[in-house]
Amino acid sequence: MLRSLSVDSLMPYAGVVLLILGGSFFFPQVLSADYLSQQLQIAAFLGLLATGATIVILLGHIDLSVPWVLTGAAILSTALVGSGNPVLSALAVPAALAFGALIGVINGLGVAILRIPSMVWTLAVNSMLLGLAVLNTGGFNPKGESSPLMIAMASGDLLGLPVSFLIWIALSAALAWFLTRTPFGRYLRSIGFNEKATFLSGVSTPSVVFAAFAIAGMCSALGGVMLAGYANQAYQSMGDPFLLPTIAAVVIGGTSILGGRGGLFGTVGGALFITLLTSILSVMQIDDAWRNIIFGTIILIMLLFQTLRKGAVA
C-alpha cells in the first residue's frame, strides 16, 4: 500500500490544499464546512467513474463507454422505480449494476477476444448504448424517478459526511486492497506493462481483461445511479460531460495512460482536485471561456510537473 503513495499520487492532494487556501483568500466561504462537504458529495460522482477508469487504464486500456453506461444505468434504475412496482423498485440498484457489468463484459469481449483497440471498441459500444437509449426513451427525457435509497446514496449524510463520499471512499479502499493484495491486482499491472510476458507466465490474461472492464462498468453504473438520485431523474447525455474529466482525474492522480503504473489513492486526489477546481472557478464567477482555458492549462502544468520531476530523478 505504501508503495502506491508515490510523489505523483500526492501531487493532486497538494493541489487541493493550494486550491482551498488560494480560493479562501478571495472567497472566505470556501473554508466553510458546508461548502467543503458539498464538494465531497459532488466529487464522489466523478470519483466513482474515475475509480473504474483507473482499473482499465492500469490494464493499459481505456473505456470510452463511460458516458452512456452511466446514462443507461440512470435510465434503467429510474424507470424501474417509476414503474411503481415495489419489487422492481427494490431491484433498481442491483439491476443497474448488473447492466454495468454486462456492458463491461461486452467491452472485454471486443478487447480481449477480438483484440480491437479498446479506444475504438468502447467508443462503438458507447454509440450502441446511445442508440438503445434513444430508441427506448423516444429521444425525450426518460420518465421515472429515483428511489429513496438512490436519493440517500446521493444526498444523504452520515456522521456529518456525505453518504456519496463515504460510498466512494469505501469502494476505492476496497478496490485498492484488492489491487495490492490479490493476484488479480498483480496481473492487472503486469498486463498494463507487458501483456505478452504476463500471458507467457501462465496467466489467463483474457479473464483479467474481462474482470477489469466489468468492474469499470459497475463503477460507471453506480455513478449513474447516484447521479440520478442526486437529480431525482435521468436525462439524455447526462454522462457526456464526465468522460474527459474522468480521464483527467486518473492521469493527474499519477496513473500512467500507458498502463501498469499508478493506483487508486492518486485517483481519489485527482477527482477531488478536478471537482474543486471546477467549483472554485465557478464560485469566482469566471465565464465559461476562461474556465475552460484555466482548466486545461492547470492540467497541462500538473502533467508537465510530473515529467519534469522524473527528468530530475533519471
Binding site: 477480438l114 467508443l123 442508440g131 492521469v251 465565464d287 510530473q306
Partner: protein, 320 residues
C-alpha cells in the same frame, strides 16, 4: 498492382464499401442522384473527412489527437470574424484560419515532444484550452461568412459537388506527392518502428512535431470548410467531431498502432460514416431506431476488422 492491393488491402476494402453504400444511398433517395443530393451529401462527408485527415496525422505516428474537434471549433469561430468584407481580406482571412489551426497543432506537438507526455493526455488538456478560446471569441453562435464565397465552395462546379473537387485536390495535389517526400515516409517510419526510423537517421522529434502540426492544419481546414457550410461561428461543435474522427480513421483502415493506413483511407472512412448516417435517413428505419443501427453498423464493421485474430494459429501473434 498486386502489391498495391496487398499492402493497401484495408483502403481498397473501405473504397469498395463506400461505393456500395453510396450507390444504395442514391438508389433509395427519393430525388435520386441529383446534383443537389450529391452536394449536400458531399459537404457533410468532407467536414468529417477533413477532421479524419487531422486525426490520421496523429494516429500514423502512433498518437491520438483528442483536440481535433476543439481546433475545428476555434478555427470556425476565428473564421466567423475574418471571412467577410473585401476579397483580399477574405483571402488573407482564410490563410489566417488555417494558420491558427496549424499553430494549435504545433503547440500540441511541442508539449508532446518536449514535455514527454502522451499525445492523448496532452490533447485532452489543450482541447479544453482551445474550446475556451473559441468561447472567448463566440460566447454564443454568431458572426457571418461571405455568402458568395460560401456558395462557391459548398455548391457545385459544372454539376460536380465542389466538396468532391476539394477532396480530389487534397488527394492528388497534396497527398500523393507528399507520400513521396522524406517527411511523408518519415511519418510512417516513426509510427511503424521508432527504432528503425532513428537508426535510419531520421530526426524523430522533428517528424513528430510536423505530424501534430499537420493534424492541427487539417483541423483548421475542417473548421474553415465547416464555416462555409454553416456560415456562422459556433464554439460548441467540438464534442462530436473528435470521437467520430477516430471512428472514421479506423473504418478507413488506419491502424491505431501507427505506421499503417493513408489519408485516402481516412477520407474513405469518414465518407462511409456519413453515408451510413444519410442512408439511415431515407431507409425507412424508424427515426428513433436509427442511432442504434448506426452504432450496430459501426461496431459490426470494427468487429469484422478484428475477426482476423481468431484465425491466428500462434497465440503469441495477437500480442504484437
Amino acid at each position: 498492382m498486386a502489391d498495391y492491393m496487398k499492402s493497401n488491402r484495408r483502403e481498397v476494402i473501405a473504397g469498395v464499401v463506400l461505393v456500395a453504400l453510396l450507390a444504395t444511398y442514391l438508389g433509395t433517395h427519393p430525388r435520386g442522384a441529383s446534383t443537389y443530393v450529391m452536394t449536400i451529401w458531399a459537404n457533410q462527408c468532407l467536414i468529417l473527412g477533413l477532421a479524419a485527415c487531422a486525426q490520421f496525422f496523429a494516429v500514423v505516428v502512433r498518437g491520438i489527437d483528442l483536440s481535433v474537434g476543439a481546433v475545428m471549433a476555434l478555427t470556425n469561430c476565428v473564421a466567423s470574424y475574418l471571412l467577410d468584407g473585401s476579397a483580399a481580406g477574405i483571402a488573407s482571412g482564410m490563410v489566417a484560419v488555417v494558420i491558427v489551426g496549424a499553430l494549435c497543432g504545433l503547440l500540441n506537438g511541442l508539449i508532446i515532444v518536449f514535455g514527454r507526455i502522451q499525445p492523448i493526455v496532452v490533447t485532452l488538456a489543450t482541447a479544453s484550452v482551445f474550446v475556451g478560446l473559441a468561447l472567448l471569441l463566440r460566447p454564443t453562435p454568431g458572426g457571418a461568412v461571405n455568402y458568395d464565397l460560401a456558395d462557391a465552395v459548398t455548391l457545385d462546379v459544372l454539376g460536380i459537388p465542389t466538396a468532391l473537387v476539394i477532396t480530389l485536390v487534397i488527394v492528388a495535389g497534396f497527398w500523393l506527392p507528399f507520400r513521396r517526400t522524406g517527411l511523408g515516409l518519415g511519418l510512417y517510419a516513426l509510427g511503424s518502428s521508432e527504432q528503425a526510423a532513428f537508426q535510419s537517421g531520421i530526426n524523430t522529434r522533428f517528424i513528430r512535431l510536423a505530424a501534430f502540426t499537420l493534424a492541427g492544419l487539417f483541423g483548421g481546414l475542417a473548421g474553415l470548410f465547416y464555416s462555409f457550410v454553416t456560415t456562422t461561428g459556433d464554439a460548441g461543435i467540438a464534442a462530436g467531431f473528435t470521437l467520430n474522427s477516430i471512428a472514421a480513421v479506423v473504418l478507413g483502415g488506419v491502424l491505431l498502432r501507427g505506421g499503417v493506413g493513408s489519408l485516402i483511407g481516412a477520407l474513405a472512412g469518414a465518407f462511409i460514416l456519413k453515408t451510413i448516417a444519410s442512408l439511415m435517413f431515407f431507409s425507412g428505419i424508424p427515426s428513433l431506431a436509427q442511432p442504434l443501427f448506426e452504432g450496430l453498423i459501426l461496431a459490426a464493421a470494427i468487429a469484422i476488422g478484428g475477426a482476423d485474430v481468431l484465425r491466428a494459429r500462434n497465440k503469441l501473434e495477437v500480442f504484437s
